[in-house]
Amino acid sequence: MTEQEEGTLVETPGSAASSEASSSETTKADPYLQVRDLRVRFRTEDGVVRAVDGLSFGVERGRTLGIVGESGSGKSVTSLAVLGLHDPRRTEISGEILVGGRDVVGLSDAECRRLRGRDMAMVFQDPLSALHPYYSVGRQIAEAYRVHHPEAGRRAAWRRAVDMLDRVGIPQPARRAEQYPHEFSGGMRQRVMIAMALVNDPDLLVADEPTTALDVTVQAQILDLLADLQSEFNSAIVLITHDLGVVSQVADDVLVMYAGRAVEHGNVEQVLRRPQHPYTWGLLSSVPSLRGDASADLVPIRGNPPSLINLPPGCAFHPRCRYADRTDGRSSTERPELLPVAEAGHRVACHLPEVDRQRFYADEIAQVGVAP
């Protein structure tokens, strides 16, 4: 299956362009998932919600992109757009979402359906509500297998389901397959969800806050599982979370979203160790573990996320930014582009000069955090 997909990739001419979005070192292929200038708008009674507004990123096979941002920054909307799950009657989507070279945005639902679950799969936040309460988990996994393997018989699909449950570390998989979602613990249920997502060996896995509903130890197990399965299947993973701790554990690259836009993008080292966007600094200051000292005061980002119907002019973050007054007023008039910084692969959307950003971070942010 994987070889076949790679074949498709090479043949597709459209995917040859722009790899500058992807992170530095990998050159073996274009990213399996390539999002370019994605815009997602919802028409609502109150006005047009610009949930995602010009987002670009790429994820290669075998790599994990962490997408972080506060609630409402457009993370889930992005992931649903990738899978083509938005209701077309209420959603306007533009831009490109190339999955293995095929643009999901232009696809009809029937065409998209063939990719869903086979080439790209999704794991949702709350496995209890995401699994059907009336069907046994084995049946739900087998169903996911049979849609894309119509030639497989019921029993073969069932065996495959049991096999997947075993692969994701569920003990007594044959017996457990007969059981219903409510008979599983939260962590086991998420394993079921992952088994279902991976049953067709997808090349892309989108996990939207897969561990948010779980307690910390289970969370770590699930993240380990995802990492193991990734090395086994060599899939591209998009991991959505608002937990930077999770990102630092499993992601290779990080995309920081604010109000439907990317404000910082780079590899984990760059974004978490040498962040250059004041919003990223704010996110980092509100995570105790990353600062090495759990007892240090957490600094929440002041203010609230903006309305996506009426975005502030200029940089959407400027009303909450402590440094907005150091940009000669550009922050409130001109929208900052996501531009490369000196270090390759690292991009930031901020009007502050790079030297200032580095200085502010070193003097005012990192200082406080590193203090023992």
Binding site: L83, L85, D109, R113, R114, L115, R116, G117, R118, A121, M122, F124, D126, S129, A130, L131, H132, P133, Y134, S136, E143, A144, V147, H148, Y180, H182, E183, M196
Partner: protein, 332 residues
């Protein structure tokens, strides 16, 4: 599962027992003396001797608990009512004799129950098929012209009483246009075609009005289900629309509808007085109403008990069905 069933059935039986006790109590709570009632009907002077004779004949001279025990025994094994030369045999299920016509109550029920069953089951098919499918399509096409029309019509339907709708149908389809004949009940076993043609009006009247409620209910249920995470999961798996809506969503949305339909059926089987009266049928409901007006207590008692049996049985069936459909109930 077995324990669940046993528990439900036991609960149902004790409910019925309580209902029978209360109804039996009601029998004696009414101010009239049944014997006087019977005797007053005839032209004879009601001498105390005659009243006593009637009481003996009907077994009314015994203490109330004994009478209750005898009544219940009669229901299950049959009994002999009264003593001496006037005693009458009443085989199980014995529900006594009508005060008014002296006819065995079982016979009256046997004659009128099929009428009500015919009306209710036929109408239920109409309202389930019509209501649920309209509701589902409405939900799937939310905001479309079909949806708006369905919502509007069902609002009218749900607020229209059958007391008005029935006569309107009669005027429109029978009296003014003669499209249909005035319904005349024929037992199904006698002539299925005549049976069905007599039933068209009540089926449509009751079925259509109820389908409005069911359409609204199904629409709301389906809309709620469509926003559930597991529907999104089904789509994310790459399932076809038919499978997503027809299997995953429908299965969850239909469960509460089945429950309500079961309970409605149970309630309607006890009698559909207005429908029966409007279309001139003598069903269980009308019989019960007339008996209550006449203080014909054996019939009242029988119809009340029967209605209770239907309601309780529907409850048990719905509970079991729920357990079959929803594993959380079965195992929880």
């Amino acid at each position: 599962m077995l324990r669940f069933v046993v528990k439900k059935v036991l609960l149902a039986l004790s409910t019925l027992l309580a209902v029978s006790v209360i109804t039996f109590g009601m029998f004696f709570a009414v101010p009239n003396n049944p014997a006087e009632l019977m005797c007053g009907d005839s032209k004879n002077v009601c001498s105390p001797e005659r009243i006593e004779m009637i009481e003996r004949r009907m077994g009314l001279d015994k203490p109330i608990p004994v009478q209750y025990a005898e009544f219940m025994r009669g229901v299950f094994v049959g009994r002999t009512i009264g003593t001496g030369p006037t005693a009458r045999d009443c085989p199980a299920p014995c529900l006594g004799f009508s005060f008014r016509s002296d006819e065995p109550v079982t016979g009256i029920v046997g004659r009128t129950l099929p009428v009500t069953l015919s009306i209710v089951f036929g109408a239920a098919v109409v309202w389930l098929v019509l209501g649920v499918s309209i509701g589902m399509v409405s939900a799937l096409r939310r905001g479309s012209a079909f949806d708006k029309l369905a919502v509007g019509t069902s609002l009218v339907g749900a607020s229209m009483p059958i007391l008005l709708f029935g006569p309107l149908l009669l005027i429109g389809l029978v009296y003014e246009t003669g499209l249909l004949g005035y319904p005349r009940y024929t037992p199904l076993t006698e002539n299925p075609l005549a049976w069905a043609s007599a039933m068209i009006l009540p089926w449509f009247a009751l079925g259509f009005l109820n389908s409005a409620t069911y359409a609204r209910l199904s629409r709301a249920q389906m809309l709620e289900t469509l926003s559930e995470d597991f529907v999104r999961t089904a789509r994310a798996k790459g399932l076809s629309k038919i499978t997503v809506y027809g299997r995953h969503a429908l299965r969850a949305a239909i469960t509460p509808i089945i429950t309500i339909a079961g309970l409605d059926l149970g309630a309607y089987l006890g009698g559909t007085v207005i429908t029966e009266t409007v279309f001139g049928f003598t069903g269980l409901g009308r019989t019960a109403l007339n008996a209550a007006l006449d203080l014909d207590m054996p019939i009242v008692m029988a119809t009340v008990l029967l209605a209770a049996v239907f309601v309780v049985a529907a409850n048990v069936l719905v509970d079991m069905l729920y357990a079959v459909v929803d594993p959380r109930v079965r195992l929880g």
